[in-house]
């Protein structure tokens, strides 16, 4: 098996807020190898965007890494000096943001921005433009030369997201982080972007991290999945196991709630009653226990990470038994 390109090791991150310290990530671990598409899935407030931001160390000022490490090719990037981090960003690790409108400068043409993104490359401007043109063709822009002369507002949401993907690939990064890449798009454009990302991965040598709340996107695109809840990775599994043999009750609940899941119309939709715990004062025991249908008294103690197979684990007292 390939050595991991990216290794997030028991990472904890806290935000300093007016109402106290909020533990957004609590000992989250993740591994990504070359050629893998990793899904990070969870609902709002589960810490998935904080995890994504830590990979590229674009954490806001109020965030503080309290413990753990993010290793890229074995080197802890969080302790690198800012210049070294900046050199990694874009060149080795690139990001596709949720909103392709705000990811571009509205007063510069796409061509100018796609050239700027290559500022670290020691090649003439004409060559940078050629490279931009080639990538625009690759992501399926119908008229790349016209696109280079366009401003962001002249492109539709789906087209902007294609250009954003081209921009992320410009420097041939080893790790591509896509934060909710299809959330702002309509369903037919979403299908096209999923198709494009799936197509790109065949020729792409690196690892792709897809952060999403949409289980359909995970099922269509990912090889391995990390499910997050209240700042913790509660389950890690191959995509098929996750959907067909989930072992954490939160994973099962999340899949059951997805209305896309039923063949027949269901008059009453399943829900997960209750709310997320307050992360300013995280529970000592299992953070999902108050909402869990299987909870017992033991769940008030910290849950173990049960290794179900070499590729699947769940943070749950009850994951040891038969599914």
């Amino acid at each position: 098996m390939n050595p991991p390109l990216l290794e997030i090791d028991a990472l904890s991150i806290a935000y300093h807020t007016d109402h106290g310290k909020l533990s957004a990530l609590r000992g989250a671990s993740l591994i990504a190898r070359a050629g893998e598409v990793i899904g990070i899935v969870g609902e709002s407030g589960c810490g998935k965007s904080t995890l994504a931001a830590s990979v590229i160390n674009l954490l806001p000022h109020a965030a503080q890494v309290t413990s753990g490490a993010v290793r890229y090719k074995g080197q802890d990037i969080l302790t690198l000096p800012p210049e070294a981090q900046r050199a990694l960003r874009g060149q080795d690790i690139a990001m596709i943001f949720q909103d392709p409108m705000t990811a571009f400068n509205p007063v510069l043409t796409m061509g100018a921005q796609l050239v700027d993104f290559q500022h670290a490359a020691q090649i003439p401007r004409a060559e940078k433009l050629n490279r931009a043109r080639a990538l625009l063709t690759r992501v399926g822009m119908p008229d790349p030369d016209l696109t280079l002369r366009r401003y962001p507002h002249q492109l539709s949401g789906g087209m902007r997201q294609r250009v954003a993907i081209a921009a992320a690939l410009l420097m041939n990064p080893t790790i591509l982080v896509a934060d909710e890449p299809t959330t702002a798009l309509d369903v037919t454009m979403e299908a096209q972007i999923i198709h494009l990302l799936r197509d790109l991965r065949r020729e792409y040598q690196g690892a792709i991290l897809v952060i999403t709340h949409h289980l359909g996107v995970v099922a269509e695109l990912c090889d391995r999945v990390y499910v997050m809840y209240a700042g913790e990775v509660v389950e890690e599994a191959l995509v098929d196991d996750l959907f067909h043999a989930p072992r954490h009750p939160y994973t099962s609940g999340l899949i059951a709630c997805d209305p896309g899941h039923f063949e027949q119309a269901a008059p009453i939709l399943p829900t997960i009653p209750g709310r997320l715990p307050d992360l300013r004062n995280p529970p000592i025991g299992c953070s999902f226990a108050p909402r869990c249908p299987l909870a017992e008294t033991i769940c008030a103690t910290p849950p173990p990470r049960v290794q179900i197979s070499p590729t699947q684990s769940a943070l749950c007292h009850k994951a040891g038994g038969q599914p």
Partner: protein, 326 residues
């Protein structure tokens, strides 16, 4: 007897022109948002209206309540034609709208109690505290919410207040624009179950507007598909999802990512993207993306015709589904 009958409804919005158009009113252009929209809604029925952004769903909803006046066509509510602003004011006492952005639709300076009393006051009814408490209980919120402000609510709670505010006038028809947008999937069901429960208890009719096909499928009796300002298909939900008649409905349903890695879509259902309303294709609006396009689609606009019982599609080539389902 139908509750709402809409016939040939159309809406044009004026385009803001340059300085020359201000001098010469004849040169002022307008943009057709939707046209030729006809459908009915029965008491106690839920109609799901689906389509992508820019298809005209929200503008249609606003036109139905007279918030943006339609340019052509007729709206009958409760067997009465609604034309003038006064007609619509009277109609709005029996209808309600749940707006897309639940938190933004609540005034940040008013308490939840005041927000719930507001529709009653507007329509000249008394607003006793008991009525407010009753509404909060109906949507499953604790009574102390009367003194809270919108910023203190979670997304799901704000949705519940939106439901309570919609129902306070005891309406016959509720128009819900994206009732679950922005909600997590584990909370989405709570709002939909609440809406379903209240529908049976209060004998409501719903028009639910959404781009979320999976959700609409579970809550609607019938479904209407809109594309570039035209209804392209309308019919019972189950049959429409099983055998969509219009090529756009087919590709829309086939584009939805399914939460099962064993059912990955191998080929793309639809290529290209929705044209701008400014460049709406002539004749059939779907011709620029349609896999079945023929010469006739570029010359003759198709009409919404009944293909099989209760099922309508706007396509020259739609045929009744073969197979068990009718």
């Amino acid at each position: 007897m139908t509750l709402l009958t809409v016939q040939n409804l159309a809406l044009d919005l004026p385009l803001r022109g340059g300085i020359l158009s201000a001098l010469n009113p004849k040169s002022r252009r307008s943009l057709q948002i939707f046209a030729d929209v006809s459908f009915t809604l029965n008491p106690g029925e839920t109609l799901g209206l689906v389509g992508e952004s820019g298809s005209g769903k929200t503008t249609l909803a606003r036109a139905l309540l007279g918030l943006t006046p339609a340019t052509h066509g007729t709206i009958h509510f409760d067997q009465t034609a609604r034309r003038t602003p006064a007609d619509f004011t009277a109609m709005r006492a029996h209808t309600a709208m749940m707006f897309q952005d639940a938190i933004a639709s609540l005034s940040p300076r008013m308490t939840i109690g005041a927000l719930l009393a507001e529709p009653l006051t507007i329509h000249g009814h008394p607003a006793p505290k008991t009525k407010i408490a009753e509404m909060l209980a109906l949507v499953g919120l604790p009574p102390d919410f009367t003194t809270r402000y919108p910023h203190e609510l979670s997304g799901g709670q704000a949705r519940r207040v939106g439901v309570a505010r919609a129902l306070v006038l005891n309406p016959k028809l509720v128009i819900a624009d994206e009732p679950t947008a922005g909600l997590d999937v584990s909370v989405q069901g709570e709002i939909l179950n609440l809406m379903t429960d209240l529908k049976t208890r209060l004998n409501l009719s719903y028009l639910i507007i959404s781009h979320n096909l999976a959700m609409v499928r579970h809550v609607s009796d019938r479904i209407a598909v809109m594309y570039l300002g035209r209804l392209v298909e309308i019919g019972p939900t189950r049959q429409t999802f099983a055998h969509p008649l219009h090529p756009y409905s087919q590709s829309l349903i086939a584009s939805e990512p399914l939460p099962d890695p064993r059912k990955r879509r191998q080929d793309l259902a639809i290529k290209g993207e929705i044209p701008s309303l400014l460049n709406r294709p002539k004749a059939c609006v779907f011709q620029s993306r349609c896999p079945l396009v023929q010469a006739i689609c570029r010359t003759d606009p198709p009409t919404l015709r009944e293909i099989s019982p209760h099922r309508f599609a706007r396509c020259h080539f739609a045929t009744p589904p073969t197979g068990a389902l009718s």
